[in-house]
């Protein structure tokens, strides 16, 4: 089928594109996109944007598959068919106000819920379920107006009251609430209904793009009737009711969750009869199911699986590494990492090159900061130190000579033994890859550190990290599309010495805070980038994070799946195609 040359050209191009940053942005169509316009007008024109062609179009453009594509503007979306989608994991509930939704959960939630806002291709929010977002002069009060005439799947009307119910349910949830608390005052002034379709949100600090806060789980609006019912009968958390393009049909945990077409979706025609989500935890198994035709689509961050996906030309791959970064993170609240020399030593000792080679497999790029080189916020002057054991040993000696008799409260030992710093490395498992990472780090860190291992189930890992019971751990975060949402992980205000801190390393820097707040209030992206670069430099200097790689998300679709990136806001603004492993299926159809 495929010649080796086309194969190679694809991979080379893929590599170029991979370095081109936000691959997802240009995906899909070219021109005018009205939500209710004929989908034919939206179907893709690969030749139109050759420069920024994403890998998805690349597979279509570079191989024979393209030949089978109907001529562009005549392509009619076909109604019918069921899309089977392979997820990384299952969730234990699909309630946006009480379930912690990661990529897999958000992918499913996207089908059944709509968010108040969505990201456009530039990573700026644009209204979706809401009609408009209007700030006051100080950018601390945002008036959100909802669209008229939208109802939930159960017939409940979407109104200000419904949004408030969702907002308060989320704030009241111990887990989901954590993500909201930093932004809003604790009392009921946070959100007030002005009239039937208008809500006023008050925030703690000036925010230039409030809408981006409600593009993800926090922006999903569920039926208030259902939320109330689910409080009484938690089993209903498995059967979500939203306004989305698909209506919940059935769910069998760890097996399949099925949604069927919403015949009168407010956003226009939905082409698929149904979507079915299959959690397949093993990346290779998920790939095999796709290759055997048992799945039509999947998402993955498994580098080995990504290599396999890129190896075949039969799939449309949306590649995105602008999202989270993988890194090691140190707790600066307790010895030894309350001392910057210990942190520096660990950073210098870290085998970043080996990490990129063995774990990144040439798929995930080395990271030096939160941003990829293509981002306007990227600070080219920053270096992530590593692979320098000699410097590390020197710093360790200095530290141990001065502070080696103190106690590491976590281990209950002295901070140093035999001239090496005692630390505990914590990670989330059981996972073969995570264990390999721990062993890789340990091997290199052992020049200056005695490393104790602590593998915890994911929940426990998050808890211990949140309450500061760790020395160093491996973590994956940052990379919010709107940048400022990442502030919760960085601000002094989110450090809580006695309880939960969202600033996991508990590293406070007033100067950095000032810059982050300043950036949050800026709408001029170019000017904001300069501020963010300064903030990034301060993060780098604090040595609280040792950045490894930019996480690569790939959403892969069989070549008969169309309209993957055709979703738009009601005003016709083209939406960002994929956000950290989730895509939207409302405009997808099967050829």
């Amino acid at each position: 089928m495929k010649t080796s040359s086309s194969h190679r050209s694809f991979r080379r191009l893929g590599a170029v594109l991979a370095t081109a940053g936000l691959l997802v942005s240009a995906c899909g169509g070219s021109d005018d996109n009205e939500a209710d316009s004929e989908p034919a007008a939206e179907s893709s024109e690969p030749a139109a944007e050759p420069a920024a062609e994403p890998a998805e179009e690349d597979t279509l453009g570079e191989t024979e598959t393209e030949v089978t594509l109907p001529p562009d503007d005549d392509a009619d979306s076909i109604f019918g068919g069921t899309l089977r989608y392979g997820l990384e994991a299952d969730v234990n509930g699909l309630n946006p106000s009480s379930s912690a939704l990661a990529a897999s959960g958000l992918m499913m939630a996207n089908a059944v819920f709509d968010t108040l806002a969505v990201y456009d291709e530039n990573g700026v929010s644009t209204p979706h379920l809401a009609e408009s977002f209007t700030p006051n002069d100080t950018l601390t009060t945002w008036t959100v107006k909802l669209r008229e005439g939208i109802t939930f799947h159960d017939g409940t009307p979407l109104n200000a009251e419904a949004v408030l119910v969702n907002f308060n349910a989320q704030r009241g949830d111990p887990l989901v609430g954590l993500a909201i608390m930093p932004f809003f005052p604790a009392d009921e002034t946070a959100a007030v209904a002005v009239d039937d379709l208008t809500i006023e949100f008050n925030v703690n600090f000036p925010i230039a793009d409030f809408g981006s806060l409600v593009t993800g789980q926090l922006g999903m609006v569920a039926s208030p009737t259902w939320i109330a019912a689910a409080k009484e009968d938690p089993t209903l958390n498995q059967a979500p009711v939203g306004t989305g393009a698909f209506v919940f049909d059935s769910r069998s945990e760890d097996s399949v969750t099925r949604f069927v077409r919403n015949e009168d979706w407010w956003g226009g025609d939905v082409y698929l009869d149904a979507v079915e989500f299959y959690p397949v935890t093993d990346g290779d198994d998920r790939n095999n199911l796709l290759f055997n035709g048992d799945l039509d689509a999947l998402h993955t961050t498994n580098q080995a699986s990504i290599l396999d996906l890129l190896d075949t030309d039969d799939y449309q791959n949306i590649i995105d590494d602008t999202g989270e970064e993988s890194y090691a993170m140190m707790n600066t609240a307790i010895p030894p990492f309350d001392d910057i020399r210990a942190r520096q030593a660990l950073a210098y000792a870290t085998p970043i090159e080996e990490y990129v080679e063995l774990i990144g497999l040439g798929v995930s790029r080395r990271a030096t900061q939160r941003f990829t080189p293509e981002s306007i916020n990227y600070n080219p002057d920053l270096v992530q130190v590593g692979n320098d054991p000699d410097t590390a040993v020197g710093l360790v000696a200095e530290y141990c000579a001065e502070r080696g008799e103190e106690t590491n409260p976590l281990l209950g030992t002295t901070t140093c033994t035999d001239g090496k710093i005692n630390i505990e490395l914590q990670w989330s498992g059981p996972s073969v890859v995570q264990t390999r990472i721990a062993e890789l780090l340990d091997e290199a860190w052992s020049v200056g550190f005695n490393v104790t291992f602590q593998e915890l189930p994911q929940d426990g890992h998050v808890l211990q990290t949140a309450i500061g019971q760790y020395n160093v751990n491996t973590w994956r975060q940052f990379g919010a599309v709107d940048v400022w949402s990442d502030n919760v992980w960085l601000l002094c205000a989110t450090i809580n010495p006695a309880g939960l801190s969202l600033n996991w390393p508990r590293n406070c820097d007033e100067e950095r805070d000032a810059l982050l707040f300043q950036a949050t209030a800026m709408s001029d992206l170019e000017a904001r980038a300069e501020v963010l670069k300064q903030a990034e430099a301060l993060i780098n200097q604090a040595f609280t994070y040792v950045f490894f790689t930019h996480t690569t998300w790939v959403n892969s679709f069989a070549d008969n799946v169309r309209g993957v990136c055709d979703h738009t806001s009601p005003e016709g603004v083209k939406m960002r195609c994929a956000v950290s492993g989730r895509t939207w299926l409302s405009k997808v159809w099967i050829e």
Partner: protein
């Protein structure tokens, strides 16, 4: 009759002891609050503390251990396994059990069927050729199979039949039609069945050889009944007696082994459920599954006993 009353009492005592042990171990070693509340369980803010108190009350975690045990026991006897420990309120434990139990049961039944289908002919052939080369080779084979750890056998079978030959799928899809799922269950079932078959064969062979030397067999042979006929008609039936015993006892051991096999072949059965539940410290789920496994074990043993009595009137008590 007295014997059966005694037997029943012992079984119930056993179940009580096992449940107490599990209940005690889980509650002493683990902290379920985190699963119910998430990180807020460790928070010191007043609203979090309130939630902790509320959750403790809801799940009766503020009550003393014996009281909670009795409460749980009362519910369980009436078929109510309670709800899973979580803030999201996952389905009741019984939902999970109803969904998962058939998969584990299918796997086990299939494994035992396969094991018997392999073991009986195998034993007949080897017994007929006792101590001849074929029998010796077979003895070595069964010894090798018994020594083979189930996870290693799983990897080998997966490699040969799943990857090299590609005869069987490597994934289990709970939503596939029934027959397809049986097909998907074949490799894991074979993993459990092969060592079991070796055990059964070894036993049955020894038994058959002993039976074959008994007078009535020699008599039949001298009357000119063919060897094959003697084996099938006269020798096999009495030998099945001990076969059933081991078959029953072995079922218990196989349940344990199937935990690992389920997890390797990713069959979402009780095995993977209990492992996940233990890691999440979801006590009600763990307890439910332990009780199901132990009850199955006890029932199998009693059934073996009954079959014993029916087959061989001499052991009637």
């Amino acid at each position: 009759m007295n014997y059966w009353v005694q037997r029943l009492t012992a079984s119930i005592m056993l179940l009580l002891a096992v449940s107490m042990l599990t209940f005690g171990a889980m509650n002493l070693l683990g902290d379920p609050l985190f699963n119910i509340l998430g990180p807020a369980a460790a928070d010191t803010k007043p609203e979090s503390l309130e939630k902790v108190a509320a959750a403790k009350e809801l799940y009766h975690l503020d009550r003393p251990l014996p009281e909670r045990y009795v409460r749980w026991l009362g519910d369980m006897v009436t078929g109510d396994f309670g709800v899973q420990f979580s803030s999201t309120g996952q389905p009741p434990v019984s939902d999970l059990v109803v969904e998962r139990f058939p998969r584990s049961l299918t796997l086990l039944v299939m494994a035992q069927l396969l094991a018997s289908m392999i073991a009986i002919p195998w034993a007949l052939i080897t017994a007929a050729r006792a101590n001849r080369p074929a029998d010796r080779i077979s003895t070595i084979n069964s010894f090798l199979l018994i020594a083979m750890p189930n996870f290693a056998l799983a990897v080998i079978l997966k490699y040969i039949f799943g990857i090299k030959l590609g005869w069987f799928p490597l994934t289990f899809k709970a939503t596939d039609p029934w027959l397809t799922r049986i097909y998907q269950t074949f490799l894991p079932a074979l993993t459990i069945a092969l060592p079991a078959a070796a055990v059964y064969q070894r036993l049955l062979r020894t038994d058959l050889i002993t039976t074959l030397q008994e007078d009535f067999i020699l008599m039949a042979r001298s009357k000119g009944v063919s060897r094959r006929r003697v084996l099938l008609r006269h020798a096999l039936r009495p030998s099945l007696f001990s076969f059933i015993t081991v078959f029953g006892i072995n079922t218990g051991a196989l349940i344990g082994g199937s935990l690992i096999v389920e997890s390797i072949f990713r069959i979402p059965g009780l095995g993977s459920a209990i492992v996940e539940a233990i890691l999440r410290e979801d006590f009600p789920v763990v307890l439910a599954i332990v009780m199901i496994i132990t009850t199955a074990f006890v029932i199998v043993n009693v059934v073996v006993d009954i079959v014993y009595t029916l087959i061989d009137p001499r052991v009637r008590r």
